[in-house]
Symmetry: C2
Subunit: 326 residues, 2 copies
């Protein structure tokens, strides 16, 4: 417990090694680590620092790493401290990406004002979500000003990242003709800002056209109460040439400020906290099936059901009646 207090203090003082250790703690599935992690998160509650949490999604090939590298370095150049967290849905199966995120963002990873953490490897996306959400809290307590939460464009992980962000960016590549790259309507609906990357060289014209197409599509969508006039909007950027990044950042701060002034910022965080609380409850309840006793009962009754000796409903009733309520 004393150890937790020390760790909390060092973390709040901006100690990077303390932050890394704390994230390892929340990522651990060991019950004793879990207890420590909960105590730590509780000790950090009310630390008073508020970061801007920016969710960022884009399919492989749109230049996500290049963008984060360029954008992150621009922010640290302005004196801001930037943390980058990744949610890799594939890590739920493969146990983490083979190429570490740091090798993809060499300049940013050597920046003393930046902190990059790859996706935790977990057996399921729900686990990844929980760990990432808690890592965000830790980074915020550690005094980071901007927290970028990156994910690849797979439906479920995008919604999840949007649920833990103050703003959600969609990074796209220039498209041929007027094809809208098959971006799902649901994803368009959660995007606050669409950035069409690669607005450079011979793709520049295509990027401008794609951006106009998306701007048109966004105008056709339902107006959301949490948006100021002109939002959500579409902009072009070139991560390679580091162009348009300042304009994009201006749009983000304009949106965040407006939402703060109009109460939407706090309301969104409150709704998110409630959402994650309910997810935690469901997760914790279902975790009761992971104990050795429950597993044995599941196997035994599963056999009986498969053999036709019991109905699924009756067997489930029996199992639940004897489940330990830890």
């Amino acid at each position: 417990m004393d150890d937790t207090q020390t760790l909390a203090k060092r973390l709040c003082a901006g100690d990077r090694r303390a932050l890394a250790r704390a994230i390892t703690l929340v990522e651990s599935s060991r019950p004793d680590h879990r207890t420590q992690a909960l105590a730590l998160l509780d000790a950090l509650r009310g630390h008073g620092h508020e970061a801007l949490r920016i969710g960022l999604s884009g399919t492989p090939g749109v230049g996500k790493s290049t963008f984060i590298e360029a954008f992150g370095c621009m922010l640290t150049g302005q004196g801001l401290r930037v943390a980058v967290l990744a949610v890799d849905p594939s890590s739920a199966r493969t146990g983490g990406s083979i190429l570490g995120d740091k090798t993809r963002m060499e300049r940013l990873s050597r920046d003393p004002r930046a902190f990059i953490r790859p996706s935790p490897s977990q057996t399921h996306l729900g686990g990844v979500a929980r760990r990432t959400r808690e890592a965000i809290d830790l980074c915020e307590a550690a005094g980071f000003d901007v927290i970028l939460i990156e994910t690849v464009g797979v439906g479920q992980s995008e919604t999840m990242v949007a649920e833990m962000s103050d703003l959600f960016l969609l990074l796209l590549a220039p498209a041929g003709g007027d094809e809208l790259q098959g971006v799902k309507r649901g994803i368009m609906e959660i995007a606050d800002l669409i950035l069409v990357n690669k607005a450079d060289g011979e793709l520049k014209a295509a990027a401008t056209r794609t951006c106009a197409d998306y701007a048109g599509a966004l105008r056709l969508m339902r107006k959301r109460p949490e948006d100021p006039p002109g939002f959500p909007k579409a902009l072009t950027v070139s991560a390679m040439e580091e162009a348009g990044l300042a304009t994009a950042w201006e749009a983000m701060t304009e949106l965040a400020d407006w939402r703060r002034d109009h109460g939407h910022f706090t309301a969104r965080r409150a709704a998110q906290a409630r959402h994650w609380f309910e997810a935690e409850v469901r997760h914790g309840l279902l975790a009761r099936l992971d104990g050795s006793e429950a597993r044995a009962a599941l196997a035994r009754l599963g056999e009986a059901v498969a053999a036709g000796e019991m109905s699924p409903a009756k067997a489930a009733q029996d199992l639940l009646a004897h489940l330990p309520s830890r």
Copy 2:
């Protein structure tokens, strides 16, 4: 309890009103009805009758009702007893289809050897699944030879219906050119038989071509151990002209017989029973959050979390520690 025994006896004797009452019982969400339903399902266990459970999916407009009407009447004409159950994913929201299934299948609904039951209206698809699965058991105990479980082509409901069927049919309409109608790979993978309907009049040539396209696509897919040579296969039918139905039925019985002879039929039912048992367990566990005490705690702690007074994880831990283990 005595009443349950009587109901079970009447149902096994093929009493249609007893069957209808029994299905209403398993569809009810009242706790006392649930207790009776479980007792009834238990009393019916080992009734000895085995029906062929056929899942059937198709998007609106492919002629599903016309097919079921024609196919069902052909089977009853052969002396077989046919039950039709519907899984309507939209009923989870709207509370059932407005046009009853019986009006869509007028001839079959008046057939004394047929029994048609519309989709139960439930608040979620999981509830619909549970009720339908139990209704299948009831129809089987009531001596039906063929149970058709119909659903519209929406990903999740199709997988669900396949999980409660011995065979899974996909009904399609003729497509223009060589376009494969955007049938998802996952759905192709669970189909045992693809039937291209409307092979009549001016669509006949298109139906034949579409059928050949699908036959080609099926040949390219991974061979499954539970299939005899030549399966999964694609055939053309015309529900309107009642053509190709006997051939389709022949393919179904050939497949079912082969699976019975090779142990796959029983193995599939055993795996399904185990799957539904596990789903029941998860469902029953999460139902503990529906009690008034749990709801009150969820609301109270949810407020605290939203106000930033507690972390989601800590609040979840508190709630779960005091959850009644009923």
